[in-house]
Symmetry: C2
Subunit: 219 residues, 2 copies
């Protein structure tokens, strides 16, 4: 669902999107070595998939010996840029925004929120964990001064496009959009991933519904 930029990178996007899952397993395990079979079992992917993904950045396991857990973890963190202290801004301090912020504060993510913005006078100034919600009016100066490169949008649908425009203008490189409305901002300026939770839910309905009438071609 990530919209592509003109300059495609060498590692496929689908591989990039699986790397954090491997990383989580590596960081939670006590053994010093692991295998593609073990990584596959703990992430739900096939061992072939794991081997293929890791080979993209030169991490080749040794047959019968596998991968060095610490080294592979470092490599994945480097590939993802998680060793570069990526800073993010959260726009929209409602229930979803608060949930995301608490997840990252609990230490399960390496991306750190450097600012939380909202436009409601009732919310601006209040605390979420260790952070204080700031006024969205100051979006541009906050993004620039704190060198923020990533944005997470948890605003209402009608506000998403306009906020995305402001973020792109301020120099944000990528937006993860949870608003129930896709952002269609110019993709050469900013990378957008639209992740609409209610659409995910609707798609799941398909898999619990009988579809006998679809087995033969419809015309």
């Amino acid at each position: 669902m990530v919209q592509r930029r003109a300059n495609m990178r060498r590692i496929p996007e689908s591989t990039i999107r699986r790397l954090p899952a491997y990383l989580r397993v590596l960081e939670n395990q006590k053994e010093t070595r692991t295998t593609s079979v073990a990584l596959g079992e703990r992430t739900g992917y096939s061992s072939e998939q794991v081997r293929k993904d890791l080979a993209y950045f030169g991490a080749f396991g040794t047959r019968g010996v596998g991968y060095d857990v610490s080294q592979l973890g470092h490599q994945i963190r480097h590939i993802l840029g998680l060793d570069k202290n990526v800073k993010a801004v959260l726009v929209g301090a409602g229930h979803l925004g608060t949930a995301l912020l608490r997840y990252t504060q609990s230490g399960v993510s390496d991306v750190q929120f450097a600012a939380v913005l909202d436009n409601s006078p009732q919310v601006v100034g209040s605390a979420i964990g260790s952070m204080v919600v700031e006024d969205i009016q100051h979006l541009e100066s906050i993004v620039t001064e704190r060198k923020i490169r990533l944005a997470v949008l948890t605003v209402p649908a009608e506000a998403a496009e306009k906020v995305a425009e402001r973020l792109a203008e301020a120099g944000i490189g990528a937006i993860l959009n949870f608003a129930p409305s896709p952002i269609l901002t110019d993709q050469d300026r900013v990378l957008v991933q639209n992740l609409d939770l209610t659409l995910e839910l609707q798609a799941m309905a398909y898999f619990v519904t009988e579809h006998d009438d679809l087995e033969s071609p419809v015309s």
Copy 2:
């Protein structure tokens, strides 16, 4: 990321996952006819992708005339099973669970939550919008009696696998798992989609990081 069942269906999963986005556009538009170009523009997919997706279930637009908005909407709702009143249970009434519930209550989703469960005595009995949180102890009887087929998991990581087992045992057909730990339950019994928001965030970090050292093959 949806794990596959043994009996594959005819329509690709990637197509199924785009259908709700098309449906949202169709339901929000006033015109009676639309085109693959217009649907593409409003969802962020290419017009070729739209045409290919819709052709899977026999919805062929007419050149110069396009698609009938109302008819196409009905077809997509039928394909997804949204005309069959799919009932879901939400397990975990924290911030994320509350956000999801409010989204669906605001009418942007056709999947209706028939129950919200939690294990905390502080939360059980409290109201979220029009729903009252019930005790997870009664999971099995609630799922059976209310004929619930779909589950959304917003519980802590350490609880996810055990709750998923109980849901599968109770007859749930599909689980959308937001817990920051993948569910590895037997895929022949229940379809699982793991959607870990912090991992999505980590993957985004890659796209705002410079990767000059990856441009040449690493070995």
